[in-house]
């Protein structure tokens, strides 16, 4: 089935999501919200899966953690994937676990050769457990860490080459990171090999409260900015259409409002006449 532009699924939009017949529409959910034993939420996702392609987007694999992924978490993700049969499964180039605690955020790390070995090992473990490929997403960055040995694009490219994983390019995260760290977003957008890119994320961001030199925050609480749309057009023009998600996790508007934003991505994806199919 062709997937063009999709939406992050919100349970309050279930009826509209089930009845929408928009061409190429698909939905993404945070896998952890459905890694439960049973109940209406899983039933709703199964109903949605019967109408539209579903992507499981993890926020808790902690793929860059020095600890390997938690076995019980991996088992729950596998059970959910078996039940829902998602078109794609993804998570972030970041870590959350430390000594039994879980930081509900995407924490950074120095991109060293040693870190690459660790992430490769973790992605290999997850892909073996899932018996399929992951897509790994670039997170938003808020400061340039000491000790980087390689850039983010080189790190992700090496990761994809060594593990066979694909990349989920979050254009808003590139814009946010570029603004916060002072690099050229266009150069980063141009740095990823098209054949590695399996999905694209678009979202809104906000500014923190320091008016002198505001940091951009990946807040998912606003419409996609014009600058991010421009970067997205640039990426699609170079690599061709890819399944693209509009993410909104806070200040959630009506379904129609999200669909209107999703339709912009749809029109950009289909302007070239192509569509992309997962293989």
């Amino acid at each position: 089935m062709d997937m063009t532009a999709g939406l992050g699924f919100k349970t309050e939009h279930l009826e509209e999501a089930l009845t929408s017949r928009a061409a190429g529409l698909w939905f993404e959910v945070h896998a952890e919200n459905y890694m439960v034993e049973g109940g209406p939420r899983l039933k709703a996702l199964e109903a949605l899966r019967d109408r539209h392609p579903i992507s499981l987007h993890g926020v808790g694999l902690s793929i860059a953690s020095v600890q390997p992924p938690a076995p019980e978490h991996l088992a729950r993700l596998k059970a959910l994937a078996d039940r829902i049969q998602p078109t794609v499964i993804s998570d972030h180039l970041a870590w959350q676990r430390w000594e039994g605690g879980h930081h509900a955020d995407f924490l950074p790390f120095p991109r060293t050769e040693a870190a690459l070995d660790i992430v490769v090992g973790n992605v290999d473990r997850v892909q073996a457990a899932l018996n399929g490929p992951l897509l790994i997403e670039n997170p938003s960055l808020y400061a340039d860490l000491p000790g980087h040995e390689m850039g983010e694009a080189d790190f992700l490219t090496a990761l994809a080459r060594r593990t066979g994983c694909g990349l989920l390019i979050d254009v808003n995260n590139i814009f946010v990171s570029a603004s916060n760290l002072g690099f050229k977003a266009e150069a980063q957008i141009d740095a990823f090999a098209g054949e590695m890119v399996g999905e694209i994320h678009l979202a809104g961001h906000s500014k923190d409260s320091d008016p002198a030199s505001p940091l951009l925050i990946d807040s998912h609480d606003a419409a996609v900015s014009d600058a991010v749309w421009a970067l997205y057009r640039r990426l699609i023009a170079r690599i061709g259409p890819r399944p693209t998600l509009i993410e909104r996790d806070d200040q959630i508007p009506a379904f129609d409002v999200l669909m209107a934003e999703r339709d912009i991505a749809e029109s950009i994806l289909t302007a070239g006449g192509g569509s992309y199919e997962y293989i």
Partner: protein, 249 residues
């Protein structure tokens, strides 16, 4: 120590996020300090938002600001240990019992405990509920009635269930004024696919406890009848509430 080494970095960063002064000193650069603040704020906000989603009645009762103050302290002391934030807040009711600003209102602890039972019921395993026909067909008085996995029941010293009802959609506007202050026994279940809360009488509570401990239908019925219950009506009510799992036969 080489701070770029993966384990050393993650240890230092995690400790700095937890406000460890020695670890914060390792990230003294102003840009790093701001980034740490963003990450600290993002993960705390996610955990606090999860509590707000999982305890909506408590939040309404105490008000947004008081809830946020309570959630902030709880998240600092008991940060999430599981990425499934939809299940976060297991210890909140017990925490509230000792949380100063709420200590004059012990019913808040019981409302929080009820909301936790609702969360547990919402995500409990699926199972076919026993219906009346199934009960009649498979009835063997010497067997136990297995409870549905979503079933929870308890007794509270305050009218926590009535308070909870008063905050559900469609509740009468004067529901809180009409509260009868006293003990309540309550049943949380998931008939069909929606979680429901019901106030039950003491004989129903005794019947459910007997079923939970593996008593036979006869044993549970005798225990409830000893309290003067009309057992057939009681069983019919519990079956309608989805209290039992099918599969007696």
């Amino acid at each position: 120590m080489n701070i770029s080494e993966p384990a050393a970095f993650q240890q230092a960063f995690a400790h700095a996020l937890a406000d460890d002064a020695a670890a914060i000193a390792m990230f003294a650069d102003p840009a790093m300090a701001r980034a740490l603040a963003v990450h600290r704020n993002t993960s705390a906000k996610a955990a606090q938002d999860a509590l707000a989603a999982n305890f909506p009645v408590l939040r309404t009762l105490v008000g947004e600001d008081s809830f946020e103050g309570c959630a902030k302290v709880f998240v600092e002391i008991y940060p999430p240990r599981d990425p499934r934030l939809c299940l976060y807040g297991e210890g909140l009711a017990a925490f509230i019992a000792g949380y100063g600003p709420f200590s004059q209102a012990p019913y808040l602890t019981e409302v929080a405990a009820l909301e936790r039972l609702v969360t547990e019921a919402l995500f409990a395993a699926d199972a076919e509920p026993l219906d009346g026909a199934g009960f009649a067909r498979a009835l063997d008085l010497d067997l136990a009635l297995p409870l549905h996995p979503a079933v929870r029941f308890t007794t509270v010293a305050s009218p926590a269930a009535s308070i909870w009802f008063a905050h559900q959609p469609g509740a009468p506007p004067d529901a809180l004024e009409r509260l009868a202050w006293g003990e309540e026994a309550l049943l949380v279940s998931r008939p069909g696919m929606a979680v429901q809360v019901a106030i039950i009488d003491s004989s129903a509570l005794v019947f459910l406890k007997a079923c939970q401990s593996g008593a036979t239908v006869t044993g549970a019925a005798l225990a409830a009848a000893a309290l003067g219950a009309d057992v057939s009506a009681l069983v019919a009510t519990l079956i309608t509430a989805g209290a039992f799992r099918a599969g007696l036969d």
